[in-house]
């Protein structure tokens, strides 16, 4: 009798231990791998954890790849912006809203005319050199294992030397 009671109690303990372990694994916080080693570590995670790890990797790609280094810098020559095309396995593609000024590969061609010819509100009196520099938005798509993140980059490009400014729209 004593032996069978002990067996029941011990069985109960073992059962509870298993349930407790299962509960613990399903409710504890996710340990996200850092973006720098995510390529190897995500493969060991559950699908949900893997999705989150990739999300963090994509965030890191935006913040750490160097794509934003031209913020607040006026571009004054025809250069290759050397935009990063990959980061830790993330593929980065660019789509320029003014491809004739900044190509999808980040090649700058300074325009030969100003951005906006400005005049006073009489529509006649010119205000030269006020709005010569072009703002250019480049849409960014980062992808990793089918997961995507979008971003935008803003560039400011000065027109080429000797540019014209005679297409008033007002």
């Amino acid at each position: 009798m004593k032996k069978s009671l002990l067996t029941v109690l011990l069985s109960g303990l073992i059962f509870m231990g298993i349930v407790a372990c299962d509960y613990s694994s399903s409710t504890t916080g996710t340990n996200l791998p850092s973006g720098t080693n995510s390529t190897t570590s995500v493969t060991t995670l559950s699908p949900v954890e893997e999705e989150k790890a990739i999300y963090q990797l994509l965030v890191d790609a935006e913040n750490l790849s160097g794509m934003s280094k031209w913020n607040n810098i006026k571009i004054t020559s025809n250069i290759d912006l050397e935009l990063p095309m990959t980061y830790q396995g993330v593929t980065i593609t660019y789509s320029s809203r003014n491809p004739e000024i900044i190509s999808d590969l980040g090649i700058v061609t300074q325009p030969n005319e100003c951005w906006i010819e400005s005049r006073k509100q009489d529509g006649v009196t010119p205000v030269p050199n006020l709005n010569d520099d072009w703002p250019v938005v480049v849409d960014v798509l980062m992808t990793y294992q089918g997961q995507e993140r979008t971003a935008k980059l803003m560039f400011v490009v000065a027109p080429a030397e000797g540019f014209t400014c005679d297409k008033y729209k007002g």
């Binding site: 509870m16 803003m154 008033y168 007002g170």
Partner: protein
């Protein structure tokens, strides 16, 4: 046997410990009310009690309360007129979140006194401060003088009626005085809307005669027509009456609540008509929508308008004047860097409320289109912050533009930079998602929502649906809109993480904004505004923790109360024309002598 008993006791202890360590599963999702929860509620109660105590103490002969209270002295905020008269003011249009707070506080505490306070104040107001034509004495240019209990105008002697995104608590107003409320809503349209032309003026006259059959007017054609390219033609024929969306939002909201209350479909149909004009004026290519669907007719002479600093709308569209360098797209309607809160937050929340309560399902699709277009074209993250790129609604950039001359939108040589995207955008984006049925339709907006939340430092809401988040439960954000968004996500998903982060945000709000017995914008701000949304947000959270159905709680819609008019500038000598937010609510405790 003794060993068996010891083992049995050990097992019981283990069992108790085991189940108490897994409260979520063992207690069938019951939420434990914690000391921190009580601490937040206690702060709200203390704030409300102080507002009621000091508000009533100033003038015990009225149930009306001041719009704001000086947290150092307990005195009402005062509007100083150019003649140096200091007037403590009560503008009930600016107290709607406080009424919602009072009703919510009665719900969570079971103490009816707060509800009764709201009703007493509204009752006195509705009984005594309604013009015979039906308009209430409240809004942007009228308030009650708490010294004399007379109506005061801040815009010359006969200031007009003006509501902009104030969305009064009509449910409570109907309960308190149905006749006055119905009369007000009818007159709101009579005084502000021109039935034959669809012109709309944010200003309404207290002289316009009351019309009981106001919504029985014959229907009219849409005023927005399309050009050969399928783009909307913005009529430039408004005789000084500009249909700003912030005024239209209030008209539509009032009409919807009236139809819902009376069962008469006519007000709702006119509200649908009005909202449709904004939709038709939206850019069909980008999806971005408009602040107004008309420009003003030029009624002033060329000589009068030759001075660019003269920005009277009789000189025509003010963007066309100041931004004419951009050509035909430069119209007030198409600006996407100013007043965007009125378009993409306040109007959106009203449309979603109408879609939900009054079964106008297509509003959800409209709103989703507006938000997706705006975020696709204009949302950008700069240095880890959510920002908006200034542009016109066809996508034409204005970022970096330097205005050649002074005008309605600012001084000469002003350079347009990024515009902040505040946390207020969280609610319209989230509510659109929650009211959209198809996952496929939600995918884009959810992705933006996820990015925006993450950038605000709240962690990751996870993939579509938000059922597997990895939130930053130690976030420092102390914002009522973020709090309400997390509560609504908790209601939608049942995931406890959202409740946990909402509690963290609530704790942050109390720590950062509860000072000297009042909720203030931050520790050094002098005035506590009754319209601030923090207390309502905290009570919505408290209600969820107590298991109160969110549908039974007052609903957040706006935080837009203000007074505008002539006053004595802070230099104590010159006359100025300004707003309470810049003249009064910007004062700190260090400005108080």
């Amino acid at each position: 046997m003794k060993r068996l008993i010891i083992l049995g006791e050990f097992l019981i202890v283990l069992l108790v410990g085991f189940y108490s360590s897994m409260p979520v599963q063992a207690s069938a999702n019951a939420i434990v009310y914690t000391d921190a929860d009580y601490h937040r509620l206690h702060a709200v109660i203390e704030h409300v009690e102080n507002v009621l105590h000091y508000g009533h103490a100033y003038n015990e002969s009225t149930a009306l309360l001041p719009d704001a209270i000086n947290t150092l002295t307990g005195e009402p905020a005062k509007w100083t007129f150019p003649n140096r008269a200091e007037v403590p003011y009560s503008d009930l249009a600016n107290q709607q979140n406080f009424f919602r707070t009072l009703v919510a506080l009665s719900l969570v505490t079971g103490d009816e006194k707060y509800n009764n306070e709201a009703k007493a104040s509204l009752s006195e107001f509705l009984d005594n401060y309604q013009n015979p034509n039906g308009l209430m004495y409240w809004g942007g240019h009228r308030a009650v003088n708490l010294d004399t209990l007379e109506v005061q105008s801040t815009e010359s002697e006969n200031g007009p009626h003006e509501l902009k995104n104030m969305m009064p608590y009509y449910d409570l107003m109907f309960e308190v005085n149905e006749v006055a409320t119905v009369r007000f809503i009818r007159q709101l349209w009579t005084a502000h809307f021109r039935w034959g032309t669809a012109d709309l003026n944010r200003h309404g006259s207290y002289s316009t005669a009351y019309d009981a059959n106001v919504f029985g007017q014959p229907s009219i054609e849409d005023v927005i027509l399309m050009d050969d390219d399928g783009l909307p033609i913005i009529p430039a024929d408004a005789p000084g009456d500009l249909p700003f969306v912030n005024a239209a939002t209030d008209l539509a909201y009032a009409a919807y609540t009236l139809s819902d209350h009376t069962g008469d479909p006519a007000p709702k149909e006119w509200a649908n008509y009005l909202m449709r004009q904004y939709h038709l004026a939206s850019n069909p290519d980008t999806g971005m929508t408009v602040y107004q669907y008309k420009s003003t007719l030029v009624s002033k002479s060329a000589l009068e308008c030759s001075d660019p600093s003269y920005t009277n709308s009789g000189c025509g569209d003010r963007v066309a004047r100041q931004f004419r360098d951009f050509g035909p797209i430069a119209r007030e309607a198409n600006v996407e860097w100013k007043n965007t809160q009125a378009i993409y937050v306040d109007n959106t929340l009203m449309l979603l409320e109408a879609a939900d309560k009054y079964d106008i399902d297509y509003y959800v699709d409209w709103v989703r289109g507006y938000l997706e277009g705006y975020l696709d074209y204009a949302y950008i993250r700069i240095n880890g912050e959510n920002k908006i790129i200034p542009m016109f609604n066809d996508g034409t950039l204005t970022y970096g533009y330097i205005v050649p001359e002074v005008g309605y939108y600012g001084p000469s040589n002003m350079r347009l930079g990024y515009v902040d995207m505040p946390t207020t955008y969280l609610l319209p984006i989230l509510r659109t998602i929650l009211q959209t049925e198809s996952d496929e339709d939600n995918r884009k907006l959810w992705t933006y929502f996820r990015e925006i939340v993450h950038t605000f430092g709240m962690g990751d809401v996870g993939p579509l649906g938000g059922e597997n988040p990895a939130l930053n439960l130690f976030t420092a954000i102390d914002d009522p809109f973020a709090l309400m968004a997390m509560v609504e996500l908790y209601n939608a998903t049942g995931n406890r993480q959202y409740l946990d982060i909402a509690r963290t945000i609530g704790n942050n709000i109390v720590r950062e904004k509860f000072h000297r017995g009042f909720f203030v914008e931050n520790e050094i701000m002098l005035y506590s505004r009754l319209d601030q949304p923090e207390t309502l947000a905290l009570l919505i959270l408290d209600g969820v923790i107590r298991g109160i159905d969110s549908a039974d709680m007052p609903y957040y819609l706006a935080d837009s109360g203000y007074i505008h008019g002539y006053l004595l500038a802070n230099d104590g000598a010159t006359e100025d024309r300004s707003y309470t937010h810049t003249y009064i609510y910007s004062k700190t405790i260090y400005d108080w002598e």
